[in-house]
């Protein structure tokens, strides 16, 4: 569809191959399909078992279920019943995060849990803010063009159709996007708050352009999903069903097409047949039960995200894979990345009450690519954020205040507005996920993540923090508070052209294993300065297309032969 029609038809074009929006209940937030969901027996060899019901796993399941695949998703966390399980409260939302123990090391350890790891059906998109930018075309060839990072084994153009399709399914609301590959969004931008308005004024005075969106939050109505009510609790799980997550965008349709989501089931090992070298299924434990069960499957897709995916692959040792699945070249867990996410807050004379409206409002990708004048490779994006009281107290503490001074700044909460950055931190082989000596209650070794910033990362972070501080000063902020922090996970099982430097090929298939795929953000060789959710979904959508490429007869033969039918068409 051309740009003209996309603009004219804004808000009225809806996805064709996904009925999730109509399958939701208007009066209840529970997934209507849960009670009538198809159930498979453990010894029933399904076509595909997926580990993780998040952004990647859910999209892959929905797509392939529509093609008739018989699919089981194993999810470590609970099957949510949002009306009862989720609350309009910060501390009360602790259970949305992956809070099982992980060890963090390196020179710059990354705090895991509430900011970057989800647990439960829907994954971490249940508590992401809602920003859904695309990667830029330049993200796919940073090694060739910028001399840093890595080149992807695929190009932006191969994801483009899937970006557009997923944007329709979420649906994404925002202004026309001038950066990267310029494009329009299916829904109009949301109204902005007084707090965001101050930040935009400051940015304009600094010569920085900012645009409203892009967010996966319904503006208008979308099937049975209502308009956003601007209550501001996006990070606590959307009780309205306005914010996009696989729970409302893909799982309803997946369930309607025979997918089973088996919640509270922790995958422990991908089971390998030593005779053929192919996977037989996944061994898992049901929470609260002692036993181990093998779910048999013709193919396995691991979608546990950047910490749990490497952990599962490393724990899946067998005679053929003594160092873990896909780890013959010692690549699993390497090149795990986070984004720098410093935030600065400014103070104004008026009450702004930044807690109203979704935290993601306005963003800029003007600094996304390399600018030699800045003294570092690649760049960052700028986004508004709005911490709730506990988040705000951590911000004030990070600026060095406690006791009476902290209380004073906290009482001033309503006068502040906050702006943040996302730095593209570069992939590094020593930033990696490994197995720690300690074990969890299942006897499975816990993950350890080591992270150390490079000089390029530090220069990028310092530069970007100055840019957003300048924005606040230009907007006449009376006082400024700064917090250095990190956000998002990506990488850890990256795709590439050769097994010496990667874990999977361009079709997400683990090198040396015919029927195991990685279907989450851990395959990304670089991360850009964009929030990863949309890209993870688009990658899963593309993967589904490749996996379903074979004709039905070929598919049946392949399933019998325990070989998965990736399309044989050669890409290049």
């Amino acid at each position: 569809m051309g740009t003209f029609w996309r603009g004219l038809l804004k808000g009225s074009v809806t996805p064709r191959d996904n009925d999730s929006r109509f399958l939701l209940d208007v009066h209840s937030r529970d997934l209507p399909g849960e009670a009538t969901m198809r159930r498979y027996a453990d010894d029933d060899e399904v076509d595909l078992v997926i580990v993780g019901a998040g952004a990647g796993g859910s999209v892959l399941a929905q797509r392939l279920a529509r093609r008739g695949w018989r699919i089981v998703i194993l999810e470590a966390g609970p099957f949510w019943h949002p009306d009862e399980d989720w609350v309009s409260d910060e501390a009360g939302s602790h259970h949305l995060y992956w809070t099982q123990k992980r060890i963090i090391g390196g020179t710059d350890p990354i705090e895991l849990g509430k900011n970057n790891s989800g647990r439960g059906v829907g994954g971490s998109m249940i508590h992401y803010a809602g920003y859904t930018p695309r990667f830029h075309p330049s993200d796919f060839s940073t090694h060739s063009d910028d001399g840093v990072g890595a080149d992807w084994p695929l190009r932006y153009e191969e994801l483009l159709g899937h970006y557009e399709r997923v944007e329709l399914e979420l649906p994404v609301a925002g202004q026309d996007w001038p950066w990267g590959h310029p494009h329009r969004y299916p829904f109009s931008p949301h109204p902005v708050t007084g707090a965001a308005l101050r930040l935009v004024e400051g940015a304009h005075r600094c010569g920085i352009e900012m645009r409203v969106g892009p967010v996966g939050i319904v503006n208008g109505t979308f099937g049975n999903r209502p308009h956003c009510i601007y209550r501001g609790y996006c990070l606590q799980g959307c009780k309205v069903n306005a914010k996009a997550s696989p729970y409302v965008t893909h799982l309803p349709d997946a369930l309607a097409h025979g997918v089973e989501v088996r919640a509270n089931c922790m995958a422990l090992r991908v089971d390998i047949d030593d005779a053929t070298g192919a996977a037989r299924g996944v061994v898992y434990a049901r929470e609260g039960e002692g036993g181990r069960t093998l779910q048999r499957a013709a193919a396995v897709a691991v979608a546990g995200y950047s910490i749990e995916t490497p952990r599962l692959l490393l724990a899946s040792t067998s005679r053929r894979h003594p160092r873990g699945l896909g780890n013959a070249e010692d690549q699993v867990g390497r090149y795990v990345m986070v984004q720098g996410a410093s935030q600065t807050a400014g103070r104004w004379p008026d009450e702004l009450r930044m807690y109203k409206a979704p935290p993601p409002e306005i963003s800029s990708e003007q600094f996304y690519e390399t600018d030699p004048g800045r003294g570092f490779a690649r760049g960052f994006s700028i986004q508004t954020v709005s911490p709730m009281p506990i988040g705000w107290s951590e911000h004030v503490l990070a600026d060095g205040h406690w006791g009476r001074a902290l209380r004073e700044y906290m009482r001033d909460y309503n006068h502040w507005a906050t702006i943040g950055v996302l730095n593209e931190l570069l992939p590094h082989p020593e930033n990696r996920v490994t197995l720690a000596d300690e074990t969890d209650p299942y006897g499975q070794p816990v993950a350890r993540m080591d992270y150390t910033l490079t000089d390029n990362d530090k220069t990028n972070m310092a530069y970007s923090t100055k840019v957003i501080t300048d924005i606040l000063r230009a907007a006449d902020a009376q006082d400024v508070l700064i917090i250095q922090r990190f956000a998002h996970l990506i990488g850890g099982a990256r795709m590439g052209r050769a097994p010496e430097h990667s874990v999977t090929d361009a079709d997400h298939r683990i090198w040396g294993v015919p029927n195991v795929f990685v279907a989450d953000g851990s395959v990304c060789p670089t991360q850009g300065a964009a929030n990863p959710a949309l890209t993870i979904m688009a990658l899963a959508s593309r993967l589904a297309e490749r996996m379903a490429g074979g004709d039905p007869v070929e598919h049946y033969r392949a399933v019998r032969a325990r070989r998965i039918p990736i399309s044989t068409r050669s890409r290049r």
Binding site: S88, D89, E90, G105, E111, W392, W402, N414
Partner: protein, 244 residues
Amino acid sequence: MTVDLRSGAHLPKLRPGSQPPPPDWLPRQRRGTTPQMIGRYPDHDVFDAIDTWDEATKKVVLARLEPPGPLRFFSAAEEPALRAFCDTALAQETEPRIPVAETVDAKLADGRLDGYQYAGMPDDRDAWRLVLRGLDHTARQAYRCSFAECDTRRRENIVREFAHGRLVGGPWDELNVPRAWSVVMRAVLSAFYSHPWAWNEIGFGGPAYPRGFLRLGGPGYEGPGVREPFEKPGAVNVDPVREG
């Protein structure tokens, strides 16, 4: 002392010594309980809106007003240092106090941890115990008494050194002190600012489902239209005789 709220003259970083003014410029709280009855929004009480909250949220928030139970994780010997530290870190020297010590204790007793542990640091539960022993160790070295027996000024001196990661000796040598500060403060702040009394103090609207917000203060909203009808503005203490 009078302060013009618009000027921001009360903000610590804009004042000599980075310390706030004494709270006598703040208004007397007319509605709603706040910690130490200090607040900026004298007519604001989040519970005025309780009829607009959903049941699940109401249950979670109201549970925080239950009388705090006895400590389950910390021992009687650790209790004085725990309470003294929570009071000092949050400047809660008088009643009414938000029961921070009890909330932290319950979190640790139930094993509700945060999903990560620094390599080279003990489990959060052990880190807390070491910190309390460390505070007593430092107080004994500096002032010849336990941390809880120190007066407010001396406690603040010790906590200031803790915040800067400068404490050494005894239990501190088993900890990475700056990371230990981050571990304990994370729990303390979460306990304090999850309590509805703290929301009253800072003028936070509280839970907002299913009601939501209509007036976001964006373009086109000037004057009274910038505020929801149920939002009460901030205020300062004005003496009606002198200034009336």
